[in-house]
Amino acid sequence: MTDLFSFEPFIVNALLAGVMLSIVAAGIGSLVLYQRLSFFGDAISHNALLGIALGLLFGIGSDFTIFMVALGAALLFFFLYEKKVAKSDTLLVIIAQAGLALGMIMVAAGGAGSGRLVGFLFGDILSVTKSDIYVVAGCSAALIILLKIIWNKMLLFAFDRETAEAEEGRRKMLLLNLLFILALAAFIAVAVKIVGVLLVTALLIIPAATARFFSRTPEAMVALAALLGALSVVGGVFVSWQFDFATAPSIVVTSAFLGFCGYLLKNR
């Protein structure tokens, strides 16, 4: 049991980054659930791989390229949706898969081997550095402030769209929704490094969905989701450390397990 307490610095970094992201994920994930945008979040996060590839190709930081590609994917979706090219679920699958596939090809073209590809897909939380921590902390703080600004209006919008538009005006609600998409893209850009392209939506959705079982207000839901997310990170890191499992998948499985327990507890 002693090795449990003699954490290496990289474990501390992993826990810090994971917990901070869980807190932000609780707020963004709740809004994603309220607006039934889970698949939308999933589709644009798959495109993060393309962002990583572009970062490698141009030799610039991938945070920025992921953010831009995620935004691009989101805008592409809205454009195709407005043009009624196909139903939204169809469009989302196409955008997710095409972006992921293109990303895979370009990552290889950018000179990254399959080992690094796995890292991109499933995250590499144990390689989080001190400077990554500062980036995560700064982005988290900015995102929490942004969320706080748009929170009440976005709640009303999700709860009753027409009332929100009547009270705030259509244009203002469009702007707030755009800000929310920006926040989602920024979150994905930061979180992808840590939990990977394929698992980032799990961090957004699962704790929030579990918290919904026990919440009577949106704020209670966010608080509980943050707690559940943080627990999943700590539990997942611990499990992967003890059993030598991959870390990000361990976090997601822990989170899903907590969700299952939540369901049982709720329907006892």
């Binding site: 009440n152 999700a158 009753d160 027409e162 538009e165 009547a166 009270e167 919904r212 009577r216 207000t217």
Partner: protein, 252 residues
């Protein structure tokens, strides 16, 4: 921007609304003054909800514009009964969605609506009538100049409807707001209205309730109610002997 008489809250002139090819509203002109109660009557699919959405600013008009008094505050209660239950919500939290309200203001509004016992209830478990009251409570707490209500009595029984109209009269008295309401309860609502509008894609007739009941268009639109009068409260039928060039492809 057109200028309006000082007392006018909102006005439209020759406003029209199309969805694709489908013309839903045409040549709509009317205005609502401070403190007025205006009732809209009309058969299903007449464009009543669309008109309310245009006035509330939820839907843009295709023709013409909506002119609002400077800083006009609108409370809009849409026809849909359920609200998104993915969002956890108590009645109290709902009231606070419109900004910070003092406990005493909240209690006053809740009492007026006779739902003070529901403040800590889960919104999504309320009955149809309670939902309407909770949403209306939120609307009046925002201190609107104009309340726009789309068939708020749809899910209420007869007693409930009478109760609701009494409530509206009290809200108007206490908060001083104008009210625009869509209703099928012809006679219940008429007597309390300052103005009645009969709508079937265009305005068939508008005016004071007494004069409306004598208007030939009204008799055409509501033959059953017009013929049998008061004892027919609650019975409502639309007979298709009232042809509109607009909605029936040019009459005959």
């Amino acid at each position: 921007m057109k200028t309006m008489p000082k007392d006018t809250l909102i006005a439209v002139e020759n406003m029209g609304k199309r969805f694709g090819e489908k013309v839903v509203l045409k040549d709509i002109s009317f205005s609502i003054a401070k403190g007025e109660i205006v009732t809209i009557l009309g058969p299903n699919g007449a464009g009543k909800s669309t008109l309310l959405k245009v006035l509330a600013g939820v839907v843009p008009p295709s023709v013409g514009e909506v002119v609002r008094a400077e800083g006009l505050k609108i409370g809009y209660l849409s026809q849909g009964s359920g609200r998104n239950d993915a969002v956890p919500m108590t009645v109290k939290r709902l009231l606070l969605l419109s900004g910070n309200k003092s406990e005493s203001d909240m209690q006053k509004a809740l009492k007026l609506l006779k739902i003070e016992g529901l403040i800590n209830e889960d919104f999504h478990t309320l009955s149809g009538g309670q939902v309407q009251r909770a949403l209306l409570c939120r609307c009046i707490l925002r201190g609107p100049d104009l309340l726009i209500l789309d068939e708020p009595t749809l899910n209420l029984d007869f007693e409930g409807r009478i109760d609701f109209y009494r409530l509206l009269a009290r809200i108007k008295k206490i908060y001083g707001c104008a009210i625009l309401i869509v209703s099928h309860d012809l006679h219940l609502v008429m007597s309390k209205s300052d103005k009645v509008l009969c709508l079937n894609h265009h305005i068939c007739c508008q005016g004071k309730p007494e004069s409306i009941q004598k208007h030939p268009s009204y008799a055409k639109l509501f033959p059953y109610a017009a013929a049998k009068g008061e004892q027919d409260v609650g019975v409502y039928m639309h007979h298709h002997n009232h042809k509109h060039p607009l909605c029936e492809g040019g009459g005959k």
